[in-house]
C-alpha cells in the first residue's frame, strides 16, 4: 500500500489545510473499499499493480484535490463580456496617455520617439491588463460569495441606441484613430503652451506669418473635433444630428487645410542666415501636399456623412 500512501500524501498537499484530514480520511476509505471489491472479483490478494491501476482511474492527485474545492474562475462567464469591454477601453486610454507623452516629447524636442511610444504603451497596457483582471477576479469571486453587483440588470429597451444600419455603429478602431489623431493635432497646434521658454527661444523652425493667421481657426476646429470624439467614445453610434456635426467639422477643417496648402510657405526658418536649414523648401512641399491630400480626404468624409444623413432621413 505504499502507492496509496504516496497518492494520499500528494492529494493532501493540494487540499486546503482546513479540510485536509476530513477529505483524505474519506477518500482513503473509498479507495480501500474499491480495492477490496476488486480483490473479491478476482479472487486473489491485491498487488501494487492493481493499486496503481485504481489510482490512475481515479485521476491525478491535483485534479482530485481540486474537485473537492469550490470551482473558481478568474472571470465568470457572466462578467466576461464586460471584462473584454473594459480591457478594450483601457487599452485606448493607455494609448491616448502614451500618445500625449509622445506628442509632448515630439513638440518640445522634435524627436520622433516611436520605439518609446511602443514600449511605453506595451508596459502601460500590461499593467492595465493585470489591474483590470485583478478587479474582475475579486468581482467574480467575492468574499462571502455574495456578488457586489450584477451586470446587465439596469437597462431598458428604450435606452438601446436607435441603430438600423450596420455602419451606424462606430467601431472601437474608428473611435481610437479619430480620437488619437485629433489629440495629436490639437497638441501640435498648441505647441507654444507645451514648450519650455528656453526651447522656444532656440527653435530653428516655426510657422510662417501667413500660416499663423490660420492656426487659431484650425486649432478651434480640431478642439471641437476632439470634444466630438469624446462624445463618440461615450455614445458610439451615428445619428442624423451627429452626422450633421461630423459633416460640418470635416468640411470646415478641409477648407482650412486646402486654403493652407495654397500658401507659399507653411514653415519658415527662425535661425540666423549662417545656420540656414537646407531642407526647408522640401519640407514645405511635403507639408503642402500633405495638407492637400488630407483636405481632399476630409471632403470625401464630409460628403459621406451627408450621404449617410440622407440615408437615415429616408429610414425614419
Amino acid at each position: 500500500m505504499k502507492l496509496l500512501d504516496r497518492y494520499m500524501s500528494a492529494v493532501e498537499f493540494h487540499l486546503p489545510e482546513k479540510r485536509r484530514n476530513e477529505i483524505t480520511r474519506e477518500l482513503r476509505a473509498n479507495i480501500l473499499d474499491k480495492l477490496e471489491s476488486l480483490a473479491e472479483q478476482q479472487g486473489r490478494a491485491i498487488t501494487e499493480d492493481d493499486v496503481s491501476t485504481v489510482l490512475k482511474e481515479l485521476g491525478h492527485p491535483q485534479r482530485v484535490a481540486n474537485s473537492f474545492s469550490p470551482p473558481q474562475q478568474l472571470v465568470t462567464a457572466d462578467l466576461f463580456p464586460l471584462y473584454k469591454q473594459v480591457l478594450a477601453y483601457g487599452a485606448i486610454f493607455m494609448f491616448v496617455l502614451e500618445m500625449i507623452r509622445f506628442c509632448v516629447v515630439f513638440i518640445s524636442s522634435g524627436h520622433i520617439a516611436l520605439a518609446t511610444l511602443f514600449s511605453g504603451f506595451m508596459l502601460k497596457a500590461l499593467l492595465m491588463f493585470a489591474s483590470v483582471t485583478g478587479v474582475f477576479y475579486i468581482l467574480s469571486n467575492p468574499p462571502g460569495g455574495k456578488p457586489f453587483f450584477k451586470p446587465y440588470q439596469c437597462w431598458s429597451p428604450e435606452q438601446l441606441p436607435p441603430v438600423t444600419h450596420g455602419w451606424q455603429r462606430i467601431s472601437l478602431c474608428e473611435q481610437t484613430t479619430e480620437f488619437s489623431s485629433s489629440l495629436f493635432f490639437f497638441l501640435l497646434l498648441h505647441y507654444p503652451l507645451l514648450m519650455p521658454d528656453e526651447v522656444m527661444a532656440n527653435l530653428t523652425i516655426g510657422f510662417a506669418a501667413a500660416t499663423k493667421q490660420w492656426v487659431p481657426w484650425l486649432a478651434a476646429a480640431v478642439g471641437f473635433s476632439l470634444l466630438f470624439n469624446i462624445w463618440n467614445l461615450r455614445f458610439s453610434f451615428w445619428s442624423r444630428f451627429k452626422l450633421a456635426i461630423s459633416a460640418g467639422l470635416n468640411l470646415m477643417i478641409a477648407i482650412l487645410l486646402l486654403c493652407m496648402s495654397r500658401l507659399p510657405a507653411i514653415i519658415v526658418e527662425l535661425s540666423a542666415a549662417d545656420e540656414r536649414v537646407p531642407s526647408i523648401d522640401i519640407a514645405n512641399s511635403f507639408i503642402s501636399a500633405g495638407l492637400l491630400w488630407v483636405g481632399l480626404w476630409l471632403v470625401f468624409e464630409g460628403g459621406r456623412d451627408l450621404y449617410r444623413m440622407w440615408l437615415l432621413s429616408r429610414t425614419f
Binding site: R25, A29, D33, G59, P70
Partner: protein, 114 residues
Amino acid sequence: MSEEHLEKLRQELRRGILVLAVLGSLREAHYGYSLRKQLQDAGLDIDEGTLYPLVRRLADQGLLTSEWRQGEGRERRYYRLSAEGMALLASLSGEWQQLNDCVSKILEVGREIT
C-alpha cells in the same frame, strides 16, 4: 457529429440529473463506494472523481447528514438525506417528472413526423 462532441452533450445531459439521482439514493444511508455501486446497479455509472466531490458539496450545503461508522475492520463515512435534503428531493422529483413528461411528448411528436 464527432464522438467527442456526442460525449460532451451526453455529459451535459447527465450532469443535471446527477444531484437528483444521488439525493434519491441517499434516502437510505450509504458510504461513498456503496453509493457508487448502487447507482451503477441502477444503470447510472458515475465517475468517482465526480461522485465523491458532489456528495461532499451536498453535505456542505446541509442537504446530507454524515457520520463515521466502524465496520469490517475499517471506518467509513455514511451519508443520508437531512430534512432539508428530503424537501429538496420532493421538489426536484416533481420538477423532473414534469420535464420528463414534456420531453417525452416532444420526442413522441418528433417520432410521428419522421
